[in-house]
Symmetry: C2
Subunit: 262 residues, 2 copies
């Protein structure tokens, strides 16, 4: 067996290990959903093993200089798979996409490979990062209470301008010929971009329930809400959401402060 | 010739077309630098052709539903290369990385392929997106003057907490064994992540000159500043920076408001 083939063999046998803050969905949830939706075995290290949060703290410690193949991660989630130790949510999903059948390979569909990545980046930007910044517009290192006035102002813009802008965009993507019918974002097939859109819509629905309910009633973004329901109803996703492996929202990216929801 | 081979042939002949807001570096600059640093011919459509800004406006118009292989872009930059029409800066760089010799292929170095993407995402998050949010902490749709009080608060945190955090991280990456000596971020070779770090450090140096000068004097981030100088001194980069193709900073992502620079 060549070195490369033997390395590939080893990777196939290596377990997928996700390392993220325990007890919250957060950005780690996108990685969990990729595993859960495909029935892929994985270890949720800080939630399910004795290593606990220590596994995370050693990896993001300033003393960590990585190894000859892996620079240290900036922040979790971290995915470890054999000798591959990578971070950044969209980067981890890119790695898993082809391996779990959640994205076309660049050889089979060059357009699709990059569009699934792009749609993921856009959903994470607008419906995860910005949703977080609404309750922390000044500094992540300060309490919400110490930036509440600013948060109230930012929330208004997020509800009135940004959320509609991103929902309009994804509705348009679902009516693009590239969607292939509007059931999924790209190529008429479930990809990790659909899982990310599901999870981010779920998150903003938790944080801004009144606002999202109003957007749903308005009927302008029917395709987005239909995709949300479609993904939520997939057998494996449904079983996961009902399991105790699904963490509850609390004080992470998505927070429900009624005053920020008009 | 097979269909795939013939398609590949066509792509090789297709020009690279970059579509971005004219007259400013912005996020398009990362794409320009990839072309310029490798001497790759490209068309900067809005700056160099009669299509002008109209080329951009039609692509981000809400009427644009894309085509059978390409959903519409959310925002510029857009890269068009034959039938491939993609957006999102890190996604475009991922596409160009292997093609321009600015990143390893996943077949040759799976770790490297994903780490170059990850380092790029981190630099863009912390030294581009956050740098923008400093002067627009409440809403992109409002003037700076209408969110100046909030910007002053956010700028303090950015200068004291966030900038040092990202510089410390990249300095540590450059001292990781994965860097291979500290000349470049990964594998002892120039990648697009180095170009992105160069450009983002250049941007924050324009926006926060006093703060960055102090960080340089402090001597804590020597490897980051050395990388900046190294990239800036590369023959092709140097020639580009001195050319009139390099756009000037003004009212884009990086803005110099002296009051935000302590």
């Amino acid at each position: 067996m060549s070195t490369r083939a033997s390395k590939r063999q080893k990777m196939t046998e290596s377990p997928y290990r996700l390392i993220y803050w325990p007890g919250m969905p957060g950005r780690g949830e996108h990685v969990r959903l990729a595993f859960e939706a495909t029935g892929t075995p994985y270890v949720d290290v800080t939630n399910q093993t004795d290593e606990g949060i220590q596994a995370l703290l050693t990896r993001i410690d300033k003393k960590n200089r990585g190894d000859p193949h892996n620079p240290p991660p900036f922040a979790p989630p971290v995915l470890e798979h054999g000798d591959v130790k990578i971070s950044q949510t969209p980067n981890i999903l890119l790695y898993l996409g082809g391996r779990l059948g959640l994205a076309p390979s660049p050889e089979d569909d060059v357009n699709g490979y990059y569009h699934v990545n792009s749609l993921t980046l856009t959903a994470l930007d607008g419906l995860s990062n910005e949703a977080h910044d609404v309750h922390h517009p000044i500094a992540s290192s300060l309490y919400y209470e110490d930036q509440k006035d600013e948060a109230l102002r930012k929330a208004k813009d997020y509800r009135e301008v940004r959320l509609p802008k991103f929902f309009e965009y994804f509705d348009r993507v679902l009516s693009s010929p590239a969607s292939g019918g509007g059931d999924y974002l790209y190529g008429d097939k479930l990809t990790y971009a659909d899982l990310v859109l599901f999870q981010t819509v779920d998150g903003v629905s938790y944080a801004f329930p009144k606002c999202v309910a109003k957007m749903k009633e308005g009927g302008e973004y029917e395709k987005v809400f239909a995709l949300y329901d479609r993904v939520k109803g997939l057998d494996k996703v449904k079983a996961y959401l009902e399991s105790d492996r699904r963490q509850k929202y609390s004080m992470g990216i998505y927070r429900h402060y009624p005053e920020l929801d008009e």
